[in-house]
């Protein structure tokens, strides 16, 4: 090839590569583009698992309310059950924690705080815990003497007391009143209290007036989310631990934002560095025999990372899989390499549902490479 022609070709190639990636991507506008996958045995197997005969009396077994799958920015599968419809803003339970983290990501991008800022800087009642940093809360590593469990010890459960009795008027203040059980940053302990301290700290970062609508102005409106409800405690603090509600289609928008590293169209809504932090395992997390199968804590998001020699929690899902997870089977899964976002809403009252099983069946149904492998 003569040199000038070669130069022209490489110039053209270079130009092609420098086009904004949004050019070739599909993004939802007012609503999602819908391109349903055709029926297949793999889709049938997924449905058999996710939507068995539903028994509303015994409430036993897998009880999926909504299953929505986005591939390459388009809806390829969607089904609802029980009372839930496409228009239902479903309770997200602890998926709210990850939504609060992503809301905080917008404030982080505006330079309103740093991970090593003391929580007390933004929420004065934490001055008695001056060593607890924002980053510690995001890793569920405040070290506060919290008791999350409620199913086996409802009398002493901190989260039940926070939501329904002693803590309900001011959940962040209730959490701040707990004693210190471990040095901040040294120990993972799942705590809904930590999430509500983050919610209260957000008010200090953005100001009382802006706070009232901040999740909408910062996150929901830019993503085109219209169904969001976020309940507050009597002090006006968003119940960041538990009480956000969105339709499945709206929650999937947050999933797509995360799949694409915080970018929405041409706007970097949340810094990529923030999403990277969300997806980084907490450095002092110690997997053990008891935690086998438990997702790995990142920055208020859950990871499928193999760490410290332990097997990854969901063996049939890719290592890069991450998720927002909530009580009774709520889940927002992101498989970045497969360009998949999966929303599952549910009312699982027992422990029969398995993240790994759903992800395995979903990949067989919706990931082309896996589909081909299975077909051979």
């Amino acid at each position: 090839m003569p040199a000038p022609a070669f130069r022209r070709l490489s110039l053209a190639l270079g130009l092609l590569c420098s086009l904004p990636p949004a050019f070739a991507e599909t993004w939802p506008a007012a609503d999602w583009a819908v391109a349903p996958v055709p029926a297949s045995p793999a889709v049938a197997a997924l449905e058999a698992y996710a939507f068995p005969q539903r028994d509303d009396d015994s409430r036993k077994g897998v009880r999926t309310d909504a299953l929505l799958v986005i591939r390459d920015g388009q809806i390829i599968y969607e089904r609802y059950a029980g009372p839930t419809k496409a228009s239902t803003p479903h309770l997200a339970w602890s998926v709210s924690k990850s939504l609060m983290a992503t809301t905080l990501g917008v404030a982080y991008g505006k330079g309103l705080f740093r991970l090593d800022d003391p929580v007390a800087k933004f929420y004065p009642p934490m001055s008695q815990h001056a060593d607890i940093k924002i980053g510690h809360l995001l890793n569920w590593a405040s070290g506060l003497d919290w008791q999350e469990g409620y199913e086996y010890a409802p009398v002493k459960s901190s989260v039940v007391a926070m939501l329904y009795t002693r803590g309900r008027t001011d959940m962040a203040a209730f959490t701040a009143s707990f004693g210190q059980a471990a040095t901040p940053g040294t120990r993972f302990l799942y705590s809904s209290g930590d999430a509500n301290l983050l919610s209260a700290a957000l008010r200090g970062m953005v100001g009382t007036e802006a706070y009232k609508n901040y999740p909408w102005t910062a996150l929901f409106e830019p993503l085109g989310i219209t169904s969001a409800v976020w309940e507050t405690d009597a002090a006006g603090t968003f119940v960041g631990s538990s009480y956000a509600y969105l339709t499945a289609r709206d929650l999937a928008r947050v999933g797509l934002l995360m799949e694409r590293d915080g970018r929405w169209g041409e706007q970097q809504l949340v810094p990529k560095a923030w999403v990277d932090f969300n997806r980084t395992p907490f450095a002092n997390y110690q997997p053990s025999k008891e935690t086998e199968g438990d997702a790995i804590p990142g920055g208020q998001w859950w990871l499928n990372a193999p760490i410290a020699g332990a097997a990854k929690p969901w063996p049939d899902a890719p290592d890069e899989t991450f998720a927002a997870l909530g009580h009774w089977g709520q889940a927002l899964y992101v498989l970045p390499k497969e360009n998949l976002v999966i929303v599952r809403y549910a009312d699982d009252r027992d422990h029969s549902y398995s993240h790994d099983e759903l992800l395995k069946l979903a990949q067989a149904a919706f990931v082309p490479a896996v589909q081909n492998r299975e077909a051979k």
Binding site: Y164, T165, E231, A234
Partner: protein, 117 residues
């Protein structure tokens, strides 16, 4: 002392159990005092959100909030979107506030109308 134990072995064991239980209750007094509020509060709040945030039907929401410990009184004031539930002797009320804010437990429970359950 040992003579008493020998004479009354069963009473002694019973006495020890009573003292241990009293000590346990004292240590957990804050938790125990708050406990009766749980059933009414959970039922009122989660029913309110099920009905007025998620817009599900009344019959579904009643079964959705059903606990092992039953409620002894329930009233859904539909006109005001205000839900009151009573359990373990404690009455609690949740109020729907707005489109974005959903439901919230009130500091003071509303009165349950006579015969509501």
């Amino acid at each position: 002392m040992s003579a008493f134990i020998k004479r009354r072995p069963f009473s002694t064991v019973l006495l020890i159990i009573v003292v241990a239980l009293a000590a346990l209750a004292w240590v957990n007094r804050v938790h125990l005092a708050a406990f009766p509020g749980i059933i009414g509060a959970l039922s009122a709040k989660e029913y309110c959100s099920c009905r007025y945030v998620m817009d599900n039907e009344a019959g579904y929401c009643k079964s959705y909030v059903k606990q092992i410990i039953p409620i002894s009184g329930f009233f859904d004031d539909e006109a005001n979107k205000r839900v009151t539930a009573r359990g373990l002797g404690s009455t609690q009320t949740a109020q729907w506030k707005s489109q974005r804010e959903g439901c919230q437990l009130l500091p003071q429970a509303a009165e349950l109308p006579a015969g509501s359950n």
